[in-house]
């Protein structure tokens, strides 16, 4: 094992932490603007140090473990939730050259590893020995497994087109047409299901502040709480990257604008998805819990299944077929 193999991931970790710091600030600013407020502007110029101050505050807060909680599981849960969030980034191709693991089954790896986080959330909710936390954890698990099915099925259309699970090859297949166009149904299902997997508004029932206090992490304080939040925002990074790779052509330049470097294109598309997530959060009200579960099983799942067969049928049509 050479040194670069370790330096690369550590560097990426700091980039991701930097992204999370400023994504949180940007999110608060965007929501502020949408609601006709200013947003954070006290700490540092333009509020630039707000999140840094928040993180430092969490770092110096006392770490309380409730007497009735299962101590070892309570300590373990945030780590279980965070590690997969970072580990999935290994297979994301940011550009032709910047990719850590050119894994043959990259897409499957992402889907499989990302679902481990559910266990972390469930363990955290259960180990707290708190009724709100248990309810939040259970709801969270039910929601995440329900939306995982449409999520994994919506990408089958892409796999059929490319004939590979390798994310690098999926991007190369999009040099002419991005999959958002031929796979629009799949894209819509994927985007909705991914917002739900991220536990973000309008699907933020697991931590619905107004009814469950905070959901699975009620009992968590200080930095352990921070790791649950961090896992969530690292997933925003990962999911926005994956959406870019799968549907927006990754680093490929549109309209032959190849003089702009590929990494810039990737960042632009990636930022668009991140902004979209914040925009949705500021615009949509929280969905009701019964509607939430029905929506996954009665709308998204049939749509995702239909998309597979639409893809297969379109493959047979002479002229259009070459896009599928």
């Amino acid at each position: 094992m050479n040194l670069m193999m370790v330096v690369g991931p550590v560097l990426l970790l700091f980039i991701v932490l930097g992204f999370v710091t400023y994504a949180i600030l940007f999110e608060r600013k965007v929501i502020g603007w949408i609601q006709n407020r200013i947003g954070p502007n006290r700490v540092g110029p333009w509020g630039l140090l707000q999140t840094v101050a928040d993180v430092f505050k969490l770092l110096i807060k006392e770490d309380i473990i409730p007497a009735k909680a299962d101590e070892s599981l309570f300590r373990l849960a945030p780590v279980i939730a965070f590690v997969p969030a970072f580990a999935v980034l290994a297979v994301i191709p940011f550009t032709e050259k910047i990719q850590f693991a050119d894994f043959a089954v990259g897409l499957l790896y992402y889907m499989a590893i990302s679902s481990i986080t559910i266990i972390g959330i469930l363990v955290g909710g259960w180990a707290s020995n708190n009724k709100y936390a248990l309810l939040g954890g259970m709801r969270s698990a039910a929601q995440m497994i329900s939306y995982e099915i449409p999520l994994v099925m919506s990408v089958v259309g892409i796999i059929m087109s490319v004939g590979s699970l390798n994310l690098h090859e999926i991007v190369e297949a999009q040099q002419k047409v991005w999959f958002i166009f031929p796979q629009f149904v799949g894209f819509a299902v994927f985007l909705i299901a991914s917002i739900s997997e991220l536990n973000r508004t309008p699907f933020d029932l697991p931590e619905a502040e107004s009814e469950l206090v905070a959901g699975y992490h009620v009992e968590y304080t200080g930095f352990r709480f921070a790791f649950f939040m961090l896992a969530e925002y690292v997933y925003v990074f990962a999911m926005a990257s994956l959406t870019t790779v799968l549907y927006l052509g990754g680093w490929n330049a549109p309209f032959g604008l190849t003089f702009i470097p590929p990494i810039v294109w990737f960042i632009l598309k990636f930022s668009l998805i991140v902004f979209f997530l914040f925009w949705v959060r500021a615009t949509m009200p929280r969905i009701r819990v019964d509607q939430l579960m029905q929506f996954a099983w009665k709308v998204l799942l049939p749509l995702a299944l239909a998309n597979i067969f639409i893809t297969a049928v379109f493959k047979e049509i002479p002229v259009i077929g070459k896009f599928y």
């Binding site: 007497a67 708190n130 009992e219 019964d290 029905q294 297969a312």
Partner: protein, 124 residues
């Protein structure tokens, strides 16, 4: 047998991922106060003294969703390899490869419709 080199990269990602919480919480230990008291470590229940235990048997509804999840997740395990080789099988066997998957999915969709009619998918 040689291992895929990308597996090494993935292993490093896991190690770095585990190292961050360990290091951050380790440094935090030096910075944060530690003054436990009986009141602090009481389970939070909106300021009221907690009643009973939270480790109870839970609503069967979650169990039904978990069952449905397992069925459809196993289905994706079959769908993924099928989708990967779809183009080459299509050349070899014609549309039979599509019909086969249609039949397989049909059985599962019937199960979904059954659950739908039985009102399992409704959250009460």
């Amino acid at each position: 047998m040689s291992l895929d080199p990308s597996l090494m990269h993935i292993a490093v990602f896991f190690i770095v991922g585990i190292a961050l919480p360990v290091v951050a919480l380790g440094i935090g230990r030096l910075l944060r106060p530690h003054q436990p008291s009986a009141d602090k470590s009481v389970t939070y229940e909106s300021g009221v003294d907690p009643t009973g235990d939270s480790w109870v048997q839970f609503n069967v509804r979650y169990y039904l969703f978990a069952l449905l999840f397992v069925i459809f997740d196993v289905e994706t395990v079959f769908l993924y390899p099928w989708a990967v080789v779809y183009d080459s099988l299509r050349k070899e066997m014609g549309l039979f490869v599509l019909a086969e998957m249609l039949v397989f999915l049909l059985f599962l969709v019937i199960g979904l419709i059954y659950a739908w009619k039985k009102k399992v998918l409704e959250w009460k």
